[in-house]
């Protein structure tokens, strides 16, 4: 039996305190890319009680995604954004989640992201990361941006870090482990980077801006 919304809210307040819960629950966070980073960020933020998540990805769940991304075998072939919404509704039924099935481009990102408080860059391709970071910092100066670079391979978990590059731009990862140069992405190291991003989002929401 699923708890009522009131019970859910009371449980979050008991864990986080009223003030943190108020900050988390009134926030809108957009997640750009729903792979190993984005799917893990979404789950962490939904569990923490972030009020509204906009989940953006054009792609479908593939068998090669399941070693690190938060989908199920039964979801292979289905749309990632809708699959993640469905998974989040099971985990955290009162989080407001919106699936946007679109490829994010230089032309459409501003319209898709402009009402978000914080934007998470969670793409796979380096060019797409740079496009979004440059675009958001130029055209959406009111938003905070938490991006990621370098989380592939079997290097130490301790090299994953968060840096504050400008007042509104944070970068998580080891900044060097390119997926093409390594054995690829491995679940826990990607989750570490996603956890850095998700926790940075929560810290920004409570006014803890330094890393």
């Amino acid at each position: 039996m699923i708890p009522t919304k009131k019970e859910w809210t009371e449980a979050l307040i008991a864990r986080h305190g009223r003030e943190l819960h108020q900050r988390f629950s009134s926030a809108t966070v957009a997640i750009c890319g729903l792979g190993g980073l984005g799917s893990n960020i979404a789950i962490a933020l939904a569990r923490a009680g972030v009020g509204k998540l906009r989940l953006i990805d054009f792609d479908h769940v593939d068998i090669t995604n399941l070693h690190r991304q938060q989908y199920k075998a039964s979801q292979i072939g289905r749309c990632k954004a809708e699959s993640l919404v469905s998974n989040l509704q099971e985990i955290s039924p009162y989080t407001e989640v919106e699936a946007v099935i679109e490829k994010i481009t230089e032309e459409n990102f501003a319209a898709l992201l402009k009402d978000a408080d914080i934007i998470c860059e969670a793409f796979d391709s380096a060019e797409a990361k740079a496009m979004l970071v440059n675009g958001v910092l130029e055209q959406l100066p009111q938003c905070y941006l938490v991006a990621a670079s370098g989380m592939a391979g079997m290097d130490s978990p301790n090299t994953i870090k968060t840096r504050r590059i400008t007042n509104r731009f944070y970068l998580c990862g080891d900044e060097v482990s390119e997926v093409a140069d390594t054995i690829g992405l491995v679940a826990p190291r990607v989750m570490l980077c996603a956890a850095h991003q998700a926790h940075t989002v929560l810290r920004i929401l409570v006014g803890e801006y330094e890393v």
Binding site: G33, G35, D124, A126, E127, K129, M131, N134, E138, F169
Partner: protein
């Protein structure tokens, strides 16, 4: 002198675009921060590096 990713370089007076052209950075994979602000891509040609500037070039790698 201009500090670029921690190294002091004798490039004051050059534009961001001129400096980048002497490096191996892939312009499609970078963001440039100067004195705490992002240099917009459209301003690389017009932004002249000043003595004492602190610049960071963030070069993205793939994976996510």
């Amino acid at each position: 002198m201009v500090k670029v990713n921690g190294a002091e370089l004798d490039i004051a007076g050059k534009t961001v675009a001129q400096y980048l052209s002497t490096t191996n950075y892939d312009l499609k994979r970078i963001a440039v921060e100067r004195n705490g602000d992002i240099v917009f891509k459209s301003q690389y040609e017009a932004t002249i590096l000043q003595d004492g500037d602190s610049v960071e070039i963030v070069s993205f790698v793939g994976g996510g």
